[in-house]
Structure formats: C-alpha cells, structure tokens
C-alpha cells in the first residue's frame, strides 16, 4: 500500500513515529558526550582505587619523591605536579603578555587588512601539532638557551615552557580578541568624547569591560598548558623533582604517563595503576580550571544591550 492510498490519519501516525525515532537517535548521539565524561571518571577512579590499595592517598598526595620503577619505591606525586605547574607558569609568562597585547592590537589598532593576515597566521600557529613544538623546543630553543645560559641542561623546563607558551598564545589572543570586540563601540566613543587617547580607552574602558573574557582565556589556556604532553615529554626531560630552577630536567604528569606507556607495563601491576592515579590528578586539575573559567565567564560578564 503506498502512502497515497493510506488514510491521512495513518500517515500522520506513521510520520509521528518516525519523527520520534529520529529524535531519540539524535538524542542518544548528544548523550554520548555525557557518557564520555562518565566513562573518563569511572575508568580513572576504578584503576586508581586499585592503586590506593597499595599506596595510601595521603602518601600519594603529600609525598615528595616519585620513584615508582626503582627500589625503594616512593609514590609521592608532588614532583610531577610541580613539574606540570612549572611548565604552566613558564607558559603563562610567555603567552599572557604576548596574547593580550596581540589581542589589543587586533581589536583596537589593526587595519582590516592587517587583521586578515594575522588572524590566519594565529590559526596556523594553533593548528601546529604538539609533536612539532616538541621538536622545535629540543632542536632550536634548547640549543639557543644553552648558548645564552651555559649551565642549562639538555632537557629543561624552560625550553618546554617557552614552546608551550607559544602553543597556547593563539588561544589567549583569539579569546581576548573576541572579548574586546564584544565591548560595544559606544563605550569606546564615550571615552574618546572625554578626550581619552586610544591607549587610555584600551586600558581603562575596554580592558575592564572585557575582564571576564580575558580572565577566562587565561585559565583555559593555562589548563591546556598543564595537560600538554608531547612538548614536555620531548623537551622537559624525565626527572621527577621539586625544583625552582627552570634550567634543570623535570617531569610533568602527562610526560610520566607517556613514558610508562611507551614501556611494556603489565596490566594490573602497580606501575600500570599509577598511570590512572596520575591521570586522575591531571584530570581533576584541568577540570577544576575549566569549571572556574566558565564560571568566571558567566558570573562577571557585563551584559550590554
């Protein structure tokens, strides 16, 4: 029976069923993202619980020695956390001033033509794979650093921090640019009408008005820096230690995870479980930063009509 012979009511009913099925299929695709989050949490917790049967959480979170592969074994995660934080701070020093000033230039000073050149270049910088940045750090930045500061080790935190900073710079620049451009023109014109210079308008009108977006961009970029894997694995070294000297070899959380999974670690061993325990710490830190960033965006956003 073709649809033409069908009673209109039946057509409608068939259509409604089909519509409902499609809606459910689409919904399940959307729910997949929720499932992913759930999966991450369950997987990380599950293996970490096994780990915490061997090592007390207190020792893990407060211990200052990380030697999971060497006797006597110590499972204090702080050296790895410090390594990641050090790279984060270094990246912030590079990316935040450069990113903000670039964004100010793009939104306040640049001609349409300069914008149309610089924007794609930032996109290219953002699209370069992390392994390439790692190579750049090891074969260009590190030799340069060693020439300038002779005592620098072959693997060092500074070199990794610099390239991670370059890596997250486009993120800071484009998010800040968006935030600056969302500030209505009338606010700027108000400033100019009072006789303010461009610099004064940028610093005293635009920047405060866009502050929530600017802060959020910092946090998002830094959370990217904390989790950065390849550049730190390649350039920062594999020595977990708590140090304030960026010219020494360190190890980040992500780099440790890569190091272990490159070796042959039997499933179920404590070494294998450390992957997930360290992963859990990393995930918690970045999740916290992301949640804060989105909160900042929403809470302090100025709404202009």
């Amino acid at each position: 029976m073709s649809t033409l012979d069908m009673h209109p009511l039946r057509i409608r009913r068939a259509r409604r069923w089909k519509e409902e099925l499609i809606r459910l299929a689409l919904l399940s695709c959307a729910l997949l993202s929720v499932l992913t989050t759930l999966g991450i949490v369950v997987v990380l917790l599950n293996e970490s619980i096994g780990f915490f049967r061997h090592v007390s959480p207190w020792e893990f979170l407060t211990g200052t020695t990380w030697t999971p592969l060497l006797e006597p074994r110590h499972f204090g995660v702080l050296p790895l956390v410090c390594g990641s934080l050090m790279v984060m701070v270094g990246a912030a020093v590079v990316a935040i001033p450069t990113g903000v000033l670039t964004a100010v230039y793009l939104s306040e000073y640049a001609s349409q033509r300069a914008r149309s050149i610089i924007k794609p270049i930032l996109e290219i910088l953002a699209g370069i794979p992390t392994v390439v940045y790692g190579y750049f750090a090891l074969t260009f930045v590190t030799p340069l650093l060693r020439k300038i500061i002779p005592g620098t080790e072959v693997f060092n935190a500074a070199s990794a921090s610099i390239v991670v900073g370059i890596m997250v710079l486009p993120m800071v620049a484009s998010l800040c640019d968006d935030a600056f451009r969302a500030v209505p023109r009338s606010l700027r014109q108000g400033g100019y009408a009072m006789g303010a210079t461009k610099f004064e308008v940028a610093m005293q009108v635009v920047l405060p008005a866009a502050l929530s977006g600017v802060l959020a961009s910092f946090i998002l970029a830094l959370s990217r820096a904390v989790g950065e894997t390849m550049a730190t694995t390649i350039a920062a070294g594999g020595t977990p230690r708590i140090t304030a000297n960026p010219l020494q070899s360190i190890q980040t959380m992500a780099a440790y995870i890569v190091q272990i999974s490159l070796g042959d670690t039997p499933h179920g061993s404590v070494e294998y479980q450390t992957l997930f325990a360290v992963g859990l710490v990393l995930f918690s830190i970045t999740l916290l930063m992301n949640v804060i960033a989105h909160r900042v965006l929403r809470r302090f956003q100025e709404v202009y009509e």
Partner: protein
C-alpha cells in the same frame, strides 16, 4: 584680571605638556602591541624555516615510499602515512555522523531546559580535557574491555571521542547561523521537524559544518599522545590492510625519531614534520576555501 589670564596661560601650557605625554605614551603602547603581534608571526616563520632547513635535505620520493629503518638513509614514512590515512578515515566515518547528529539535537530539538544546559556544559568541559586522558579512556575501553588490541579501530574510536566536542561545537555554530525564517517557511508548508532539518537547515549549514569538520580532522591527524597510550606502535614495517591491524601514525613516527640521540634521525623527524605540516596546510586551505566560497553566496 591680568593675573587670572596669566594663570590660565600656565594651565594651558601644563595641559599641553600633559597631552603631549599622554599621546607619547599612547604611541609607545601602540608600537608595543604592534611589536608583540608581529613577534608571534616571526616565531611562526622561524619555526617553519628551522624545520624546512633541517628536513628538506632528507625529503625525497624514496622517503615517502620506504618503511622505517635503523639506517637513516633508508628510512621513510610509508607505514606512518598509510596508518594516518586509515586512522583518519575511520575517525571521520565515526565522528562526523555522531557529532552532527548531536549538534542537530542540541540546536533543533532540545528545549532549552536543564538537560540541554547540562549537555552543553558537559561538552564545553570535555573540550578542555587533556588529550592524554582520552588515551587512558581508550586504553581501558577499546584496547582492554572491547579486545580491539592496538588496532586502527581502537585508535580511531579513541580519536573520535577526542574530537567529538570540536565537531559538535563547530556544527552547532553552522546550524545556528541558518536563519529561523527558513525553518518557519518549511513548518508553514506542513513539513515535519525532521523534514525541515534534513531538507532545508542541513543543506544550508553544510559549508559551515564542513569547515569545522576539516579543522577537527586536522587536529586528529596531529595528535600523538592518545595514540601512544593505546599502544600504536613506534616501529611498523608494514602497511595496515584493515581496521583490525596494528598501525602507527605520522606524529608517532616523528616522535620516535626525535627521541633517538643520533643527529641523522632528527633530520628524518624534520622531514616527517614537513610532510605533516604540508598535509595540515592543505586541509586548512580547503577549509578556508569552502568558507570563502560559500560565505558570499547565500544571501538570506
């Protein structure tokens, strides 16, 4: 009277001086912004120059057609290129339908209630999860629980989960850009929601979706860490014949060469990077081309 006039004159001079200072400060700041912006551009140029100077001498047709080898002169990226192609094809096959479907649901179907708000926040947070964590997820779910081993399929599924947030966010933007008058016109003619979406909204949104999808794919091509986690091999001397085979990808091959101490392998790594960057640049240009081609064309 005259004292007043002269004090006014002094004020003017002071004001003029201050104005000069303020203008000078403004000009200095403008130069500072300009300088930092072009510094970023300069860094890109230095990076590209360094990579090509180190890599081009190693780049040849033979480099593309050889398997990796212990002798640098004989080494190539055949298996890595093939693996990347396999991995990205399956990732596209999985990620595009699911991602676009999720975007359609969120833009066209969901009521702006708690559930959709929750899903949105969730996707935003997923986009911020470090890639290595996705590697841990893939290792447990696909390699161990699903017994897929270190296969192309396990890699593609891990990569799919990794880039889904990106695909969803980009597709949503493209769908949102379709004006609601199109939808209302379709509804007014008696079309159902799915008819409206599939025959009117989606075709109009496809250029935007395509641009986002290509950028997401180029992210997947450059990812290294999650594939190391799921055990994509660092030394592969064969071309995978199917989705169940073991594989390696270009970034992992590059990483493998970087981590060797011999200088020659660093040259090979640079050559691999040149190939990788050319692939990514091509994909980016296609995305930009599509964006430009369709941007001016549709007038609402």
């Amino acid at each position: 009277m005259s004292a007043e006039a002269s004090s006014l004159g002094v004020m003017d001079r002071q004001q003029a001086l201050r104005l000069k200072q303020r203008r000078a400060r403004g000009a200095a700041f403008a130069r500072l912004c300009w300088g930092f912006t072009w510094l970023a551009v300069l860094v890109l140029l230095v990076l590209l120059h360094h990579v090509s100077r180190e890599g081009l001498p190693w780049l040849s047709l033979k480099f593309l057609e050889s398997f990796p080898s212990r002798r640098p002169a004989a080494a190539g990226i055949k298996s890595a290129l093939a693996g990347t192609l396999w991995m990205i094809s399956f990732t596209a096959l999985l990620a595009i339908p699911v991602g676009v479907a999720a975007a359609i649901y969120l833009e066209e179907y969901s009521r702006k209630g708690r559930l959709s708000r929750f899903i949105e926040v969730n996707i935003a947070n997923l986009a911020g999860v470090p890639s290595i964590v996705y590697g841990l997820l893939g290792l447990t779910l696909f390699v161990r629980l699903a017994h897929l081993g270190h296969s192309v399929l396990a890699g593609s599924m891990t990569m799919t989960i990794l880039i889904l947030p990106v695909v969803i966010i980009a597709s949503r933007e493209a769908i949102r850009a379709v004006p609601s008058s199109i939808r209302q016109a379709a509804f007014a003619l008696g079309a159902t929601r799915w008819q409206t979406v599939s025959q009117h909204v989606l075709p109009a949104a496809i250029p935007g979706i395509l641009t986002g999808v290509i950028l997401a794919m180029s992210r997947a091509i450059g990812e290294t860490a999650p594939l190391i986690m799921i055990g994509a091999l660092t030394y592969v001397a064969f071309v995978p014949a199917g989705p169940a085979d073991e594989f390696t990808v270009l970034p992992i091959q590059i990483f493998n060469w970087i981590s060797r101490p011999q200088e020659a392998f660093h040259g090979l790594a640079a050559a691999g990077i040149v190939v990788l960057l050319i692939v990514l640049l091509l994909m980016n240009s296609v995305a930009v081309f599509i964006r430009h081609r369709f941007e001016g064309r549709t007038k609402w």
